[in-house]
Amino acid sequence: MDQYRHGDLIIMRVDAIPAGAIPQQHRILAEGEATGHAHRVDTGVLYEREGRLYLDVAAAKASLTHEEHGTIILPTGRYEVRRQREYIAPELTRQVMD
């Protein structure tokens, strides 16, 4: 399972985008609250299902960029995008916010 780590995100190759996932009208994988910075791709279609994001890259490659992080090249394929989480208390977690 190919994994790409980009700051507080992990992008993991998956076999398929889950059925019922809804295409999004943007290419922002995550946005920072304190910095206004964003993880974004220059091509591909983002999908959302049950709070999780998926990315379909049909082109030969997509560039994953962010104002503070190095660029990662994602080859053609389908991916799940996961945001890092933190522990708060037993049975409680929250997404890492930047």
Partner: protein, 440 residues
Amino acid sequence: MLTARSLKILTPEQAAMLPSIRDEWIDRAIGGDYHVDIEALQAGILWAYRRAGLAPPRHIFLMASPWAAQCAANSYQVHDQVSNQVSNQVSNQVSNRVSNQVRAQVSAQVRDQIDTQVSTQIRDQVRDQVHDQVGNQVGTQVGTQVGTQVDAQIRDQVDDQVRAQISAQVNAQVRAQVNAQVRDQVRDQVGNQVGTQVGTQVGTQVDAQIRDQIHDQVGAQVHDLSIMQWCPEAYSGYGWDCGWLAYYDAFRRFGVVNLPDFGRYVNFVGSGVWNCIILRSAAIVCRRPCAVHRDGRNRLHRLDGPAVQWADGYSNYFVHGVSMPAWTIEHPERLNAQAVLAEQNVEVRHVMVEQLGVTRFMQEADPHVVDEDVDGGGMPRRLLRIQMTGDEPICVVDVICPSTGHRHFLRVPPGMQRAHDAVAWTFDLPPEQYAPLVEA
């Protein structure tokens, strides 16, 4: 006027103009001059409404900060809603018509003129040197950052109002009455002991239902008043338009662009508008900031005071582009390890650790090193446990970002034994499945 595609290469004089055009626009936007040319402003607003096919606004309000402008807009909405229930919807449409449509139309016309007369290479050259740099330094750094802060503060304020209203209505009226009724009925029938239990249960359930009902009704209404909801495309002014205006302005100076409407848009913004909230019958204009402090990478930054100041005293605090709570800058003596560990935003937490000093943070937190290793990219990782009096221990994984070099302390469940397992847990992955090919 130049003929089609006549501009194929910039003369040395034209190329030399690009940095000065860039600096001129940045200086006009965030150089500290917050003067507004009232006559030019009025003419600009009347033109924008007319251009969007709307009747002129009855009022033009001039405010000194985006916070004051947003509060004025929300208050005006309340006033307007009394006389016209659909005004909220209309206002949003109006806002979009003036800000989006006029901007889009003017921009499209100018673009057509440039596209037919300027080679791609020159367009790219001017875009790199003027559009992107002005846009990044003014729009992204100041416009977006301050706008996001104001939006969050407005949301908090609206939430506070909702909560306060619900609390007052539920506590003072509903809960007391329902509880009293249930208590009296049940107590009479089954005695004090059972009555207390049932009364509490029923009271809690009714209370929750009514709380939901009131939240839906009151909350939704009050939220509607928060018209901004962070949509920068709905504003006009230096804060949002600087990048593309500077880019097209370069071509105007080269003699390529000569559209009257572009000149009018520049004059409107150039009268001193940071942003302008367009309502059906009122335009609410915000002056430019009176001081903006930045670091060497043009990120908003100041360690001994607000990075952005507005003429009415409203201030915004940033450290290397990270939006900080005011107290961390105004009262750094209050910073300690406990405050760092209580902060939820990792970037804010990182700045707080930097302000406090990693050494002092570690001394105060006094962590036990549970495990340490090196990640796939060669970066050291440590799993730390901090004993807390009267609470479960705090377990954090101490990691360094390979791109930024920032050190982050991420909280993980207290039972963790290995640094690798802890990092895998943060991505909701079993340890054996966490193995990134690339990390940046």
